[in-house]
Amino acid sequence: MYAEDMSLKIALFGITREIVGTSVIELPAPAPATVGALLDELRKQYPALGELRSCAVAVNNEYARNDHPLHTVDEIALIPPVAGG
């Protein structure tokens, strides 16, 4: 089936990289393949993500809302609370 063939690569930074233990993970796409479903799946696998002040998802360098669709070609990243400056 199409959905099962599809996997997503997710880049990890800062504390999310430490929580997951690697800088990129590859996951089967959740169904539906949206930002919200991806976050739910990741929080189930890595409960420490749920303890963060916030955890956003970026798609192709832009912050994405929960209903944003995900595709295998997308550059996807977890964005824990930023602290530049």
Binding site: L52, G84, G85
Partner: protein, 140 residues
């Protein structure tokens, strides 16, 4: 009017950032320089480590600067340079410099850029103390 935006693992050249925004048409240059403080919330800090998601950080920085140009149409030149990697006490972490014809707008635009940068630009800071490290702002 193309802004100078960069993220670098090399020491920041403040004079170059200021020179990048100066023009004969802009009489006012405001700049903000953020340096590594020796303490954070009363706790002694030994050094900082900045991690950056460069491509997104530059994309978001571009949005921030575009918003500033929309809010202050007289804004002429902008430079933002952010350091990444390991920084020692006193090292410069970020420089924002803006040039405008009149001074009030230079302060407002520079403050908007640094304030908004801190909210959206994908750079993470890990503080190193005597007895460990912590990702700043990660937890409630």
């Amino acid at each position: 009017m193309t802004p100078t935006l960069s993220i670098t693992d090399q020491p920041i050249d403040i004079a170059a950032a200021l020179a990048a925004v100066q023009t004969d048409a802009a009489g006012a240059v405001n700049s903000f320089i953020g340096t590594v403080r020796n303490q954070s919330g009363g706790r002694p800090v030994r050094r900082l480590h900045y991690e950056s998601y460069d491509s997104m950080a530059l994309t978001q920085l571009g949005h921030v600067v575009n918003q500033a140009y929309e809010k202050w149409p007289m804004l002429q030149e902008v430079a933002v340079v952010h350091r990444k990697g390991t920084l020692e006490l006193g090292d410069v972490a970020v420089v924002v410099a803006v040039a405008t014809p009149h001074r009030a707008e230079s302060f407002a635009a520079c403050q908007f850029i640094i304030d908004t940068l801190k909210q959206v630009v994908t750079i993470w800071k890990r503080e190193e103390y005597e007895d460990g490290t912590e990702w700043v702002a990660a937890h409630p």
